[in-house]
Symmetry: C2
Subunit: 264 residues, 2 copies
DNA sequence: GAGTGGTCTAGACCACTGT
DNA sequence: CAGTGGTCTAGACCACTCC
């Protein structure tokens, strides 16, 4: 036997066929029973091979229909120039600010194509949030949970948890009411209403398999990773005005960061 | 039955035990045969539940030893200030440049703790590389393949493919010889020897499951994602002097990007 | 209803780990 | 050698899709 393991050999053959283009994106694989016959093996062994390919993101299984070669997903690009872009709009007119937010800036879609949900809760900072915001554990913070959908899709393409110290924003009660979402001009405009200017944004990017809950909410097929961005917005006094955890499906998202260097 | 699916119910129970701390990191789970008995089911069903938890990165299977709750990995942080840091060192003395490179800067380890391999090949740009470098397809480029290990580990913690237009660097033949690696001061110093200064670095970050080959080389256990950084180094004339693809294990790497904003 | 994948069973036999 | 996980088989029965 080639590799020694039958299911790896079967997976290897199919993988080669997919890479060579013999099986092109969207193509239907032979039925599992047929593959089992062809490779003189049992169905469970074929299924083990297919599970491996699925975990590599090479095929998609569709119950009752068949197994298919996975089509590459069109990527949404999220660029760090969004932060300066949003800052520049803070002082713009209301109608300009209402016309598009950072997400529209990224996706190139207009406001009508995106659906948006926001939920605000006043909570006490747990260890993670307190650490990120530089507060004592238990300090009062505003938790904001966001979801964004393409209008015609059933599952959101991002999950966002944002935290702000309550002290920073109580001077403008409108900021505590989720009914005001989507806020024209975004978080930086919100902060501007209470006299806060951002100096820099620090983003920490990691990749990991989704938790069971994320997999559910984002409707991720097995074997898709998520990209997690932990974003700290730091104001001109060095305080963290906002800390957000942004969970994005890895197969649909690219993040672009430009680092400008000082000239000699 | 709770969820309807037996293996999901079993996975759910174990997941809850792990999250609550009842099963702590490193703890050994009951044997599969025992779990099967306890849940009044067959071993394959238990194995299906364990495979799910493995794909979520919650457990690790060790052949002949048992199934264990996964310990969180210590993360290596890669920060985008590395680029300015490397630029500042371009004009430093040789002994300073030899003392540490960007990887040491990131990991906080010294030169002795890291092992390094480099392989240079002159190749013709394929569509991807040509597009990234702004060249015609088939243009001659220098391909550099890098691997970095912790000295006492058997598999590398990154895979790097770098491409530079040959034209830019032929004026210094030393740049074409892999025997000169690791080059003191890194790529920015190499470019400096042929009169090139970098203006900015653009990094595109994605997350995806590893290919079979990457999984092999990085010795990734099932269900771990990789982070891919496509890095373009752009010089003061707007040319792409170097394009690299950097593959990092998602469970061991965080990338930090700081975006400085202009003041009002 | 025909075709296809999903869940689950029961068990043989092999491979690896540690005593 | 005992304990444990890995591979593979053979097949029953269920769930979903599409005609």
């Amino acid at each position: 036997m080639a590799t020694g393991k039958k299911f790896e050999r079967i997976a290897g053959e199919l993988r080669a066929q997919i890479r060579s283009g013999e099986l092109s994106p969207g193509a239907k694989l032979s039925a599992e029973t047929k593959l089992a016959e062809e490779h003189a093996t049992s169905v469970p062994t074929v299924r083990q091979a297919l599970a491996l390919l699925q975990s590599e993101g090479m095929i998609e299984k569709e119950h009752g229909r068949g197994n298919f070669v996975r089509r590459p997903r069109r990527m949404v690009t999220r660029s760090n120039d969004r932060h300066q872009w949003e800052k520049d709009r803070v002082t713009a007119d209301l109608d300009v600010r209402s016309s598009a937010g950072s997400t529209e800036h990224d996706t190139g879609l207009d406001v009508d194509a995106l659906v948006f949900s926001a939920k605000y809760t006043r909570v006490r900072a747990d260890a993670e949030v307190a650490d990120a915001l530089g507060l004592e554990q238990g300090a009062p913070v505003l938790e904001r949970i966001y979801r964004t959908w393409h209008r015609d899709e059933r599952s959101p393409f991002n999950l966002v948890r944002s935290y702000m110290p309550i002290d920073l924003i109580t001077s403008n009660p409108a900021l505590l009411d989720e009914a005001n979402e989507p806020w024209p001009g975004g978080t930086q405009n919100q902060l501007h209403t209470v006299g806060i200017e951002l100096d820099r944004v620090v983003e920490r990017v990691t990749a990991r398999p989704p938790t069971a809950e994320e997999s559910d909410e984002l409707d991720l097929s097995v074997g898709i990773a998520v990209m997690v961005i932990e974003k700290s917005s730091i104001d001109t006094n060095g305080r963290v005005a906002d800390w957000s955890e942004i969970v994005l499906p890895g197969d649909r998202t690219a993040s672009v960061f430009t680092t400008k260097l000082e000239r000699w």
